[in-house]
């Protein structure tokens, strides 16, 4: 019934809206027809023509009134009024181009900033992972209960994974993976590619089908197999020219042949290596390019408590199973594992289920929400500023409003006028803001640190558009209702009687404007405190890593192909020759290499103890294992604390260097020099007793985390295939890097060089997320300060304009320019101080929210708070100085004549 009603009424309404003139004419014609017919009737009855017409009109009983009624029923009046209000609003805005420009620009910047940040929040935090039923996907981790302090990492043991798969009943599937890098051989050269070993069922768990070929079979996932490979679309296109016949062909990496069985679809998404690992491995921002079967080796398949934890496990919950039930299921298996592990000694692991999206997003969510809050605060200031501008402007319109209400305009009608003007402004601001957001978002994504996950899923979608519109409309309502309400309440009689400046309405609006200006300063204070504390944290973090030789340092990564350099003598010889070659390059002061550089995250941790101080497995402090060459610490700039570094002359000696904090933790109160560190070589499993020759200063793995414990073995003890060569040079870093590359390829053209960086780049990369937040924070705070200054300036200017008369009297009574200046600036400062006081109090509370992002700075850092006071005090003084100077130029005579 309702629906049928609309079939008739909607076209009529639309017609009234868009064919207004036509509808009007028809109404006229209809009524005229009636009157003329009636007139003819009266004439036929014998009346004269004018008499008949008068009688006909009398019968109509108020033609005009009924015409209005007809128009009302057709909603014609509503449309008409709306158009009138729109036109009037448009004229008002055009008449004040300065106000309009400021309003639209500040709105656009505010809305643009909010839309851009929201696009990031939406893309990274809100959008579901691109898999079917993504909410059922979890990363499974293992927590070592008694050893959380020495064993922070908790990727999983391969044997434990097999037990879960066998004994738990809560999952549709469980898959394990272990990322790896390989040298893909392409004729006469090799490139490094990144991929992962993966259980055969990984793709069915994710719900992904290949675009070509198939996924792995269960047989291909058996121990000792792993001769098949699945390519991602990216690798397929980049290295194999999108060859559609690739399935069944053989490709070589690391000297082994792999048969391509499938190619994944173009839109296939897989988290990066660093996003799946439990430990932060900063440098590993690689996308996975290929998959090979996991095919766990027998030595990897033994369940154990706290050993060989190398695998990332992804699981899909069965429908109807809750996370708690699944966890209980996992823990039952864990308890059984620790009961049967002779090395467990009463320790046990507990399962931990982390939603896949949470695991991937990591702590980026905190950063993003803080940015969103910052943008929100900026928007609030924009609105307050506009409200204050509108109140000021409405003062000039007291008479207009009074006249209109005296002529019978309803309060709603007056309010609507303000709303429409506000909506006109936000419409312009919203569209412009959207364009700003579009460009700004590209800028944000291009400059976002690589650490921030899911950047590729950021896009302007319907939700972003909706958000943009909602923010604009909310802002429009917020800033136009207040002045509208204030003004429409104005008593018409009073306003008409006296001049604008003296009415109670004017006084009330002055109070309101003071309040708004104060609020702006308060909001701005909060933003400034936040930005300043974050900036200070960044400088503290940079300071902590200042020891790095950033001016003259170059780092070159290289990978000795595993097949060619399988044995230690070959590797040792390669490294010996290489070092000699690099050291002889012009300008090179020091050169050395290590298996991993500082600030590149943690990797390869092991529990250690000493022959002189044996500890049970679970109590051994965990340290990062590094392999280095002589010259490495010198090239890096990392100082020796005690003892000596092994040199080329010590080749073949089982020696080791410890980091200072590790030595302190492992053998408290004893001199570790000369003690023997126990270590099992990874390939042979042979126990080595390495003599501690030196203690080296601590180097951080994460720019803002405490340095992890480190154990450095010289490369002749055990040589890795992947190393980073570090060189301190007096020559230009760029040309040195090029010469090193040439030297490496002269030795062996099949050695890939995945990256060359200056040490400066490495530091920048490590603090990039922090720098990103600080940059945006400062932009927000700067904009906020500008708006607060604008607000103060507006309030003071207006009060000077309104007090011209009074100032004239004061000056004619002998007040000097200095007195007037002091009076006006004093008023501005008083306002700013009130705002500042409120802002500081609110800031103290709100800063707690970002305290986790702060580094080396207390959330109540007095220096920062003082700096904010000084900055805002200065800004307030400047904002009120300009109108104050204008006040001193008042000519007393002219001012007294005024009015």
């Amino acid at each position: 019934m309702r629906f049928e009603h609309w079939i008739y009424s909607i076209p009529l309404c639309l017609r009234s809206l868009f064919k207004r003139r036509r509808v009007e004419q028809e109404l006229d014609e209809e009524l005229r027809y009636h009157v003329e017919q009636k007139t003819d009737q009266y004439i036929a009855k014998g009346m004269s023509a004018p008499e008949a017409r008068r009688a006909a009109l009398r019968d109509m009983d108020g033609l005009e009134q009924h015409r209005e009624e007809c128009r009302d029923t057709r909603r014609l009046n509503f449309v008409e009024d709306l158009l009138k209000d729109l036109r009037f609003g448009w004229r008002q805005l055009r008449r004040n181009p300065g106000f309009t420009a400021i309003a639209v620009l500040t709105l656009a910047l505010g809305i643009g900033a909010n839309t851009a940040i929201f696009s990031m929040v939406n893309g990274i935090l809100v959008r579901p992972m691109p898999y079917p039923e993504p909410q059922k996907l979890y990363v499974v981790r293992e927590d070592l209960h008694q050893g959380a302090h020495v064993y922070p990492g908790n990727v999983d043991n391969g044997g434990d994974f097999l037990r879960w798969r066998h004994d738990s009943h809560s999952f549709e599937g469980i898959a394990a993976l272990e990322p790896q890098s390989d040298n893909l051989e392409l004729g006469d050269r090799a490139v490094q590619i990144h991929g992962t070993r993966a259980s055969a069922n990984l793709f069915s768990i994710l719900g992904i089908r290949p675009q070509l070929g198939r996924t792995f079979t269960a047989e291909e996932d058996q121990p000792g197999r792993s001769r098949e490979v699945i390519l991602t679309d990216g690798l397929w296109c980049a290295r194999f020219n999108g060859d559609r016949q690739i399935v069944g062909k053989t490709i070589r990496f690391n000297g082994h042949d792999f048969t391509v069985v499938g190619v994944l679809p173009r839109n296939f998404y897989f988290p990066r290596v660093d996003q799946l690992d439990a430990m932060p491995i900063a440098g590993w921002t690689y996308n996975i390019q290929y998959f090979v079967p996991l095919a766990l080796q027998p030595f990897e398949s033994k369940p154990s408590v706290g050993n060989m934890m190398n695998f990332t496990v992804i699981a899909r919950l069965k429908s109807g199973v809750t996370k708690q039930e699944a966890l209980a299921d996992l823990d039952a298996v864990e308890t059984d594992i620790s009961r049967h592990d002779p090395n467990a000694q009463g320790t046990f692991l507990t399962g931990n289920l982390i939603p896949l999206k949470t695991a991937v997003v990591g702590d980026a969510s905190r950063t993003l929400w803080i940015l969103m809050a910052g943008a929100g605060l900026v928007m609030l200031i924009v609105c307050v500023n506009l409200a204050s501008l509108l109140v000021a402007r409405s003062l000039g319109r007291v008479r207009e409003v009074a006249v209109r209400s005296a002529l019978g305009a309803s309060r709603w009608r007056l309010l609507r006028q303000f709303l429409i003007e506000g909506l006109l402004l936000v419409a312009a601001g919203g569209v412009l803001g959207f364009m700003i957001a579009f460009d700004g978002l590209r800028l944000l994504v291009d400059n976002a640190p690589a650490k921030i996950p899911r950047l590729e899923s950021i896009q302007i979608d319907g939700w972003v558009l909706l958000f943009n519109t909602a923010v604009a409309i909310a802002a429009g309502l917020l800033f136009s209702v207040l002045p509208g309400l204030r003004l429409s309440r104005t008593a018409a009689g009073e306003a008409l009687k006296s001049s604008a400046a003296n009415t109670t309405a004017a006084r009330a609006s002055a109070r309101l404007r003071d309040l708004l200006a104060g609020a702006e300063v308060a909001l701005c204070t909060v933003l400034l405190i936040g930005a300043l504390l974050l900036a200070k944290s960044l400088s503290r973090v940079l300071n902590e890593n200042r020891w790095l030789e950033v001016q003259h340092g170059v780092a070159v990564d290289l990978i000795a192909p595993y097949m060619k350099y399988q044995r230690r003598p070959q590797l040792n010889q390669l490294y010996d020759t290489l070092l000699a070659k690099v050291r002889s390059l012009p300008g090179v002061r020091d050169a050395g290499f290590s298996s991993a550089l500082p600030l590149k995250g943690e990797m390869w941790t092991d529990g250690f103890d000493f022959d002189e101080a044996r500890l049970p497995d679970q109590q051994q402090p965990n340290a990062n294992v590094r392999f280095f060459s002589p010259g490495y610490f010198e090239a890096l700039g990392l100082p020796l604390v005690q003892g000596r570094f092994p040199t080329d002359g010590d080749k073949g000696q089982a020696e080791v260097v410890l980091s200072r904090e590790f030595a302190r933790e492992a053998v408290p109160g004893r001199n570790p020099i000369g003690m023997h560190l126990r270590w099992h070589a990874p390939d042979t499993g042979k126990l080595l007793l390495c003599t501690v020759t030196g203690i080296v200063a601590d180097a951080r793995a994460e720019a803002d985390q405490k340095a992890p414990f480190m154990v450095y073995f010289p490369y002749w003890v055990w040589a890795p295939n992947e190393v980073s060569l570090v060189v301190r040079t007096a020559a230009d870093t760029g040309s040195t890097a090029a010469e090193i590359r040439a030297a490496v390829h002269e030795l062996d053209p099949l050695i890939p060089i995945p990256s060359e960086q200056t040490m400066q780049d490495i530091v920048s990369e490590a603090v990039a997320p922090r720098r990103f937040v600080v940059t945006l924070g400062i932009l927000f705070a700067g904009f906020a300060t500008f708006l607060a200054a604008l607000g103060l300036y507006g309030v003071i200017s207006l009060s000077v304009a309104q007090r011209t008369h009074e100032i004239g009297i004061r000056m004619s009574l002998g007040a000097r320019r200095g007195d007037v200046l002091r009076m006006v600036i004093g008023r501005g400062l008083k306002l700013a101080l009130a705002g500042l006081a409120v802002g500081l109090a609110v800031g103290l509370l709100l800063i707690q929210l970002i305290s986790s992002l702060l580094y080396g700075v207390s959330p109540t850092d007095p220096g920062s708070f003082a700096a904010v006071c000084v900055v805002l005090g200065f800004v307030a003084a400047l904002a009120s100085y300009i109108p104050a100077r204008r006040a001193t130029k008042v000519d007393p005579l002219a001012a007294l004549r005024y009015e």
Partner: protein
């Protein structure tokens, strides 16, 4: 909306719908017919007819089209829609119930 005081509230709609149900006609003819069929008892001012017509059109109960009238001039003719037919039935039934009830009360024998 000013309604003729001598007309029971809401009955104007019923009258218009009923007369238009008989045949489509324009506003002037409608006012003539109304006076005619009620033998001048129902006084509806010509003016108040039009807002009522426009309201009924807006409700979707009647629809309008421009046609030449008997004296060859263009006039706006109203006719009932399906929706209007249903509304007429409902209002007519309501009216019969109401008037019957009132009649019963009025004709009560005084003791």
């Amino acid at each position: 909306m000013s309604k003729p005081t001598d007309l029971v509230q809401g009955t104007l709609d019923l009258l218009i719908l009923k007369i238009l149900a008989l045949e489509p006609m324009n506003g002037f003819a409608l006012s003539q017919r109304m006076r005619q069929v009620s033998s001048g008892v129902l006084q509806v001012s010509d003016g108040s007819l039009y807002p009522a017509l426009h309201k009924l059109e807006q409700e979707g109960w009647i629809k309008a089209e421009w046609r030449p009238s008997e004296n060859k001039r263009r006039a706006k003719f109203y006719s009932l829609t399906r929706l209007g037919r249903r509304q007429l039935d409902r209002e007519a039934a309501d009216w019969s119930r109401l008037s019957a009830a009132i009649t019963r009360v009025v004709e009560l024998e005084e003791a």
